[in-house]
Point group: C2
Chain length 185, copies 2
Amino acid sequence: MVKKKALIIIDVQKAFDDKKWGERNNLNAEDNISKILKLWREKEWLVIHIQHTSDNPSSVFYPKNEGFAIKEIVEPVDAEVIITKKVNSSFIGTNLEGSLRGNEITTVVITGLTTPHCVSTTTRMSGNLGFDTYLISDATAAFGMKDQNDTFYDAETIHNISLATLHNEFATILTTEQLINHFIK
Amino acid sequence: MVKKKALIIIDVQKAFDDKKWGERNNLNAEDNISKILKLWREKEWLVIHIQHTSDNPSSVFYPKNEGFAIKEIVEPVDAEVIITKKVNSSFIGTNLEGSLRGNEITTVVITGLTTPHCVSTTTRMSGNLGFDTYLISDATAAFGMKDQNDTFYDAETIHNISLATLHNEFATILTTEQLINHFIK
């Protein structure tokens, strides 16, 4: 079976349920990722789970801490690939590019957490590395954050503008529904 | 002389004077880059000019078109390195990482155009590749842009939120004045 389309699910880990992150937008992200994952499994297309890890025992991403675990709703099954990473980009310090090229993947669909950091960075590199890249707007989510002058921007603003800066330059931005219609046709 | 600090000047090319980009924020960016460049030359630290190029004859970045030229105010001199790139990230399809490692650079200072695209992507990769990365807020600039739903965000908003998403996660954000004080002390 030809598996030209890869679904990448970034950092959907319990660590992001920690209160330290503050308010999140789009609480439906995990449900939407789960819908897309179901489609990918039915089609037997390639699924790659990205799991963030930290060497720091006090990090919520330290493997012995419960935050490291991937959330049950998108838990990997069987032979699905899991790639661990230590920085934001799923392509740095990992074999993600080799894994995609080895599987002759030309189309990459990106979902996961969080929009401005790991999702944006991975989407930028995917586009720049030449993959036909789709980012699913309602299958990702953001937290609010402060800038270098201590000005706070809420989660929805961070999410929306992160998507605007990626749109057309690095990826095609679709909703879950648009993606499913697009690939089922 | 030890040259551990590299200044990277991204895409300060005449192409960005084209009207097609719309209104830009921070028209002082080039002046600020020029001040930093002067300091780097005095210190004899490494300067790397990044120049965007396109294979498409109708592109403002096509080498035969006038937009390809680096603006006079930051024009390379003597043996300064010029690296051409074809995508947003200065690290993809180029020898930038090798050039930094070969010069034993550990600190990277990033300036140039534009904040949400080439500057953000290069800053993300610089930080994720392990370089101690500084991004100079008033030595970069943005244009307004529309998202996938045709909602327009003005240049200043795109600039500010692009910086917020990089702050502390990928880079230390400083003004030109802060940078000069920081490295002169």
